[in-house]
């Protein structure tokens, strides 16, 4: 059922990206990468995916502002230079897709890119047109992953996406939800459909998915993408006035952002978290969570208890 990526230059470059050779082969991306980021295999293919990706909700929706577009491209440059691969967007996110396309063109279309987008339209018949428009905005030959955004008209869109995948026009198929909505329906779709990915909200305070969806994803061999890891910044804002506990050094955390991300990506079912940012410093900091030691189960419980007490 699952179609592995075709052999060839693109596959080789992807493999090299996953092993940290990107900076050598793609010097224009800079030399910030110290060591390859931690990766998780995509369950349906085994393809290695760095555990920290890049979201685009709000942050990349800057319209035609050339200065802000260049700043977004700089974030992307540092993301790729740090070994990142997955960038996620949606037609719902205003100009984010166009801004990503602008950045990719400016960076010379970095081969490590794993393009994750969504279909978000209530009329199933118009799904393909929207996907094509999105592809043109991104300026990519095809998407790696397409997801049904917030389950909107999923009964109509999923057959389209599976057909695209079967035809080789798409590599992975998924669904998304956020902030704990419609989890029962998500479960039903996960049980009935051969999805590659499910995208959900999960962080140290929002842990509903631990009970059923994350175990189900493991059972069904589905990758998990985690959105809103920082509650759109509100989580960081609420805890950053407290000092990072000294024991955070045991899992190589130097900031609250890394603390939160390491909690997320240390769950064995999680493939990748996709924090969004407009800051080069923050994208580097986020990618720092994809290196060093990850918390074990006892440490994860300690992290939850600590944050809940703040």
């Amino acid at each position: 059922m699952t179609q592995l990526p075709r052999a060839g230059r693109r596959r080789l470059l992807r493999a090299l990206a996953a092993t940290g050779a990107t900076a050598m082969l793609w010097p224009s991306l800079g030399s910030a990468q110290q060591r390859p980021p931690l990766t998780r295999p995509i369950p349906s293919s085994g393809e290695a995916m760095p555990v920290v990706g890049l979201g685009s909700w709000i942050t990349f929706n800057v319209g035609n502002d050339r200065v802000a577009r260049d700043a977004s491209a700089e974030v992307m440059r540092n993301f790729f230079a740090g070994g990142g691969r997955m960038i996620d967007s949606s037609p719902m996110y205003g100009s984010s897709q166009e801004v990503i396309g602008y950045g990719l063109a400016k960076l010379g279309h970095p081969p490590p890119l794993f393009s994750a987008d969504k279909v978000w339209i209530s009329a199933g018949a118009r799904g393909r047109d929207q996907i094509e428009k999105s592809r043109q905005h991104w300026q990519v030959p095809r998407f790696d992953l397409l997801q049904v955004h917030n389950l909107l008209a999923w009964e109509e869109h999923l057959p389209t996406l599976f057909a695209m995948k079967a035809a080789g026009h798409l590599r992975y198929v998924g669904i998304t939800t956020s902030e704990g909505r419609r989890h029962r329906e998500v479960e039903e779709i996960m049980r009935s459909q051969p999805l590659d990915f499910v995208q959900i909200t999960y962080n140290v305070l929002d842990r509903d998915v631990e009970a059923r969806i994350l175990p189900l994803a493991r059972d069904r061999g589905m990758g998990v993408i985690v959105n809103r890891p920082f509650r759109e910044g509100a989580l960081i804002k609420s805890i950053q006035r407290y000092p990072l506990p000294a024991w955070a050094a045991e899992i190589d955390c130097t900031s609250w952002a890394q603390f939160i991300l390491k909690f997320i990506v240390s769950h064995p079912a999680v493939t990748c978290a996709i924090p969004a940012t407009t800051s080069v410093a923050h994208v580097r900091e986020n990618l720092g969570a994809a290196s060093g030691r990850l918390p074990d189960e006892a440490m994860r419980r300690r992290m939850v208890a600590h944050v809940e007490k703040l």
Binding site: G63, D65, M92, G94, S95, E179
Partner: protein, 234 residues
């Protein structure tokens, strides 16, 4: 939309405050010096409002306002705001409809009858118009935003809407509810947007809208009462 009760206004905010106010900065730079023209039009409306004269003044004011609404619909909502907010195309349509209503009701049918404010409620309307013209553009800079991001009557939606509300309230003849609906709705939309962005001036639009709504309702009621009283005397 399933589980609609779980959504908050912030779930619909697609952009950051920085991006939103940069939009005004770039817009102001691109259309300069149109702001001087619209401010001059605002002063012209004020002069027309304060002078005695024929019904043509109401038609002229309605035509100027309609031009401003149409400009905001096209130049701001459709060409700029829509680049960061897909809902702005609907805002553009609503503003264009208001422009058409102003032309039809005010400029063609001559229903916007103006005379110098006599009653207190008319004066409040005049005050609201002056607030939109002079004070409202200063709120952003006073709240810490850059001067180049200033929002000016005739080119930016919020002061244009508040000025229109003030004029409709100041018109002593009757309350033109059909012209009030879209401006009042925009007060809710604009206020929610700023509130979600945690802007300190988020209260201005809802407050202006609520004030005009209350005073317009009171005005309509007293006018109906006066009419009933005069009929009973016959």
């Amino acid at each position: 939309m399933s589980e609609w009760w779980t959504y908050r206004p912030s779930d619909f905010l697609l952009f950051s405050p920085r991006t939103y106010y940069r939009l005004f900065e770039l817009y102001n730079a691109e259309i300069w010096p149109a702001q001087i023209l619209t401010l001059a039009l605002g002063v012209a409306i004020l002069v027309l409002l304060l002078r005695h004269g024929g019904a043509w003044r109401g038609r002229a004011v309605a035509a100027i306002l309609a031009g401003c609404w149409l400009w905001v619909a096209w130049a701001f909502h459709f060409n700029r705001y829509a680049t960061i907010n897909w809902a702005a195309t609907y805002f553009a349509a609503a503003f264009a409809v208001e422009a058409v209503l102003l032309v039809w009701t005010g400029a063609i049918r001559g229903r916007l009858l103006l005379s110098p404010a006599v009653r207190a409620v008319d004066r409040v309307g005049l005050g609201i118009f002056l607030f939109a013209l002079v004070v409202q553009p200063l709120i952003g800079p006073l709240a810490g935003r850059d001067w180049v991001q200033v929002e000016i009557f005739g080119v930016a939606p919020d002061p244009t809407v508040v000025a229109t509300l003030g004029l409709l309230l100041a018109a002593p003849d009757r309350v033109l509810w059909t012209l009030l609906v879209i401006p009042l709705l925009w007060c809710a939309v604009g206020g929610a947007t700023l509130w979600t962005m945690e802007s300190p001036d988020a209260f201005v639009m809802p407050f202006a809208g609520a004030l005009v709504l209350l005073l317009a309702a009171w005005k309509a009621r007293t006018r109906a009462g006066m009419r009933a009283g005069s009929q009973s005397c016959l």
